[in-house]
Symmetry: C2
Subunit: 414 residues, 2 copies
């Protein structure tokens, strides 16, 4: 199946883009391909679509359910009790709403951690997105719980093979304070043996660091190094409370760090040390976190928050310029997942967005990436393509009304 | 002219809203008004529209023209040279784009300061919005420039009377470092004599404070108190670098303070002391600033930045909850301008938005104001009404293509 995008803007030049199967095959002027479906690109610009590197997709069901609370109150009195009532079917509906929202705001790939693996996997499969999915692994130092979780992990790895190659399987140890040392070591070995990524929250709060110091006499990154968990397959979300030495370790082991500025600000978790990460050469990507602490999945908002947050905390408006924020939201995430997406180039995976240059938020239009980071919202995105297939055109996604109708039922339930 | 909005959601209750002329006349179930135009409110919720309390509207023409630069470089090498080439016709086109963008994102009223008064006034008049407009007053301590500016001010006050009562006239002394003491005193007297608001930037940067201290031995708010400029008619933008004593003075004089979180973060100007302002009872509203330092005019984004910025800098997620951010973006601005808008109530000015409850960003829909602050974007807004007149319906504004076509021409010019 071939698709030819005619007369689209790429880096300010009018060009044609030919997609063959799931890859960009050729990019150039006046391409002809008689057997290709033609998509009129006039008035549109092509850009890489976004890679959301830290989500709990089905938490769309908790959007605006509990806001402006202290972390402990929020989790124990609101989020966890609600979460405990959800089954795989609920997760499927929540994940479909998440996919809908991500596609509408230009995201085609996400790195998720949540319960009821198959609920999210089915949603991603149907919605045509690309995702790295992990099942939350928590054992609270309980040996029988740990066995149960290891068995589940082994089973899910096998079961995950039923899905298309748009869906990858990752291990999801929640954090160092919810998973035992033994299980973390088991996860490290299992990941190595099976070539899997590990998706984990690290150093999100000062309390986590203090507890780690009091239990092990080491800070979280030092401790994870000691038990042998660190590597370039580790995708570490938040990573706020880290010392220069720890950032050096992250760089040394090639750990993939995910910055979550909106969630970190909303929960008052702290400020991400962007400049130090950058100067050490750590690969930093962006993630929205779940909808209960954001409350949306917009990577456009996340880019703006990342850029402005860095300028504020470093007291320097030249820090984290728009093009860097755009890379964090696209190709840096692709690198972290080992995928050749996040760029518009021959041979790369055909994941992209077409933005409407006539949208008022992109006018006059001096610098498209600056506009995308600092001005745009979802209304600017006309078309979304993932793996060579159109997921949204003219702002419309097939079946969107039914997805919303299902998700609205949760208002009555909770 | 009467308009009846049937079966709309107001605070989670289905109701009818009757608009008579430019006011809400009655709100209740099953209203009948045979001579009213009927607007179907099913699936929509009615909310106050936003009041953007600090703008330089025509700077839409500079959107993404110069980003990620140090303040001095940005102003002297990019913004000011470009601004110097603009005439009234340019300001008209830039202001029309600004009005378009504001309406699309639910704003019906703004407080502006810019050059070429009539360019902006004509745009506001045509686009049907409400605005308080001031002409920038700068004399750089030059007596002849000061005379010229005073004459212009007197003339513009007279000329402003040609516009409808949706347009108010304010005085726009740029700042204490660009306007002489004599002119500031003249402005204070002229405002008092004519019952006018004064719109001014105060304590935006540390440099402004340091210079004021070295020239006058006083901080900006102390100095403005001394020369008699402070009062409840003063609308002060930014107000970042202020001491507790200065905040006490602002409260004592009833100064209207405007918080501009996006601009303050983007230019790394500093952090607004929200908690101290709140505890002293200062009326704080929100403004986007101009598009060259934001780069849009979305009050929805501004609410989210205000709430999250406050949580971050006060290290407390319960600070500035969603409902407070919503008030800052609506009724607090209305109060500052002395207008009875920013609320849906019988007798108030009929300025409102109708949001689409079926939009994915507002689903499941537990708390509409939380969703508006933390999740929504412009795609959620279906209808915008100002002064009893529909400015946007189904997301469409009359004449929008022509406005965008004109504004896109500036890309070629600069």
């Amino acid at each position: 199946m071939k698709m030819l995008i005619k007369d689209v803007q790429l880096n300010e030049v009018t060009t044609d883009v030919l997609i063959d199967g799931n890859h960009f095959k050729s990019i150039g002027i006046k391409l002809n391909e008689s057997d290709a479906k033609v998509l009129d690109g006039r008035g549109l610009a092509i850009l890489p679509s976004f890679v959301n590197m830290h989500t709990h997709a089905a938490m769309t069901l908790m959007r605006s359910y509990a806001d402006d609370l202290n972390l402990h109150d929020w989790l124990t009195n609101h989020i966890w009790p609600m979460e405990a009532t959800l089954d795989e079917e609920d997760i499927y509906h929540g994940s479909r709403l998440a996919c809908l929202e991500m596609i509408k705001s230009g995201t085609t790939c996400f790195n998720d951690m949540y319960w009821h693996f198959h609920g999210t996997a089915r949603a991603v499969e149907e919605m045509g997105m690309r995702a790295m999915l992990s099942s939350v692994f928590i054992d609270f130092n309980d040996a029988s719980k740990a066995r149960e979780q290891r068995n589940l992990t082994e089973r899910l790895l096998e079961e995950s093979k039923q899905y298309s190659d748009r869906i990858g399987f990752a291990l999801g140890p929640h954090s160092i304070y919810t998973v035992s040392k033994e299980s973390l070591k088991w996860i490290g070995n299992f990941a190595e043996k099976n070539g899997l990524p590990i998706h984990i929250h690290i150093s999100e709060t000062q309390k986590e660091v203090d507890d780690c110091l009091s239990h092990y006499g080491l800070r979280p990154v030092q401790w994870l190094k000691k038990i042998g968990l660190l590597g370039s397959n580790v995708i570490a979300a938040h990573m706020i409370h880290v010392t220069d030495e720890e950032i050096g370790i992250l760089a040394q082991y090639g750990v993939q760090v995910v910055h979550n500025p909106v969630s970190n600000m909303k929960l008052a978790s702290g400020s991400f040390p962007f400049c130090k990460m950058e100067s050490k050469g750590v690969n930093v990507s962006l993630g929205t976190d779940g909808c209960s602490s954001n409350n949306n999945l917009s990577m456009m908002e996340e880019m703006k928050f990342a850029a402005l947050h860095a300028k504020l905390i470093h007291n320097n408006p030249t820090i984290l310029p728009a093009h860097s924020a755009f890379e964090m939201a696209t190709i840096n995430g692709a690198h972290a997942l080992g995928l050749d997406c996040g760029r518009i180039a021959e041979g790369a995976l055909a994941d992209c967005i077409l933005v409407n240059l006539e949208n008022h938020r992109l006018v006059p239009g001096y610098r498209l990436k600056d506009d995308m980071v600092y001005s745009a919202d979802s209304s600017c995105i006309d078309t979304v393509i993932c793996n060579g297939k159109v997921l949204m055109q003219g702002g419309y996604i097939e079946g969107e009304k039914a997805i919303i109708a299902e998700a609205r039922k949760y208002k009555k339930r909770f």
